[in-house]
């Protein structure tokens, strides 16, 4: 599954994860999925309420207690996907409107009066909108660390003289933004 994710064979909307083994194995798999750079919701399938609680401990998107029923499944899908639809944001790219899940955006850059949005799947969307437009959208995930850059905090792997993203991209802090960025760093850590 991880190979399929990494090679982009599938872009999953949701992962159902049967809980059979111990906490360690689950945590390891979850971390691998998270590190692969795909913010996919994960739902635990478990036969015991104790394990369901562990799902909440590791911040799974939900747990389904076996035996599974159509009603339980319907409820969890409705909850996850209606949240996702509400969160979509509108971006204008070369006069076309595109609706994106903010989780798909890794970072945005402003260069020569153009705005470039770099997505997790490798696509780059260009347009004339300013970064402020993206920054003002009701999404707490974006951090302005530089006049020309807006970074999705979910893709930050490390912080040094700038943000180091999971794919190794370095976004340096802009002059005068270091203090504000320190507040951001505290919020992340």
């Amino acid at each position: 599954m991880l190979l399929d994710l990494e090679e982009g064979r599938y872009s999953f909307d949701l992962i159902f994860f049967g809980y059979l083994y111990g906490r360690y194995q689950w945590n390891g798999n979850r971390e691998k999925i998270r590190q692969s750079g795909f913010p996919v919701p994960i739902v635990f399938l478990t036969a015991s309420a104790d394990f369901a609680l562990e799902g909440y401990e590791v911040q799974a998107s939900g747990s389904l207690l076996k035996p599974l029923t159509q009603q339980k499944l319907k409820e969890v899908l409705r909850r996850l996907f209606s949240q996702k639809e509400e969160r979509r944001i509108c971006i204008v790219c070369d006069r076309r409107r595109q609706y994106l899940d903010p989780d798909e955006i890794v970072f945005a850059e402003s260069q020569n009066h153009r705005r470039f949005i770099y997505l997790a799947n490798g696509d780059v969307l260009s347009g004339a909108e300013k970064l402020n437009h993206l920054e003002k959208m009701p999404n707490p995930s974006f951090l302005r660390c530089h006049q020309s850059y807006l970074v999705n905090r979910n893709y930050i792997a490390d912080v040094t003289e700038g943000f180091i993203l999971r794919d190794g991209t370095v976004i340096l802090f802009g002059y005068g933004r270091i203090k504000r960025s320190q507040t951001h760093i505290t919020a992340i850590l």
Binding site: Y10, F12, G18, L45, K66
Partner: protein
């Protein structure tokens, strides 16, 4: 189309979930689901 990965070692459990997803799909008019099954470690 929504793609779901189902990671479970027990084939019977994966099959059960697939059936349920098909039932839910039949109720939701504008939704299409595709389930991709995996065992742990795959």
């Amino acid at each position: 189309m929504r793609y779901f990965a189902v990671c479970d070692d027990m084939a019977a459990e994966r099959e059960k979930l697939k059936k349920l997803l098909l039932q839910v799909q039949a109720c939701e008019r504008n939704e299409e689901f595709e389930m991709i099954p995996y065992a742990f470690g795959e």
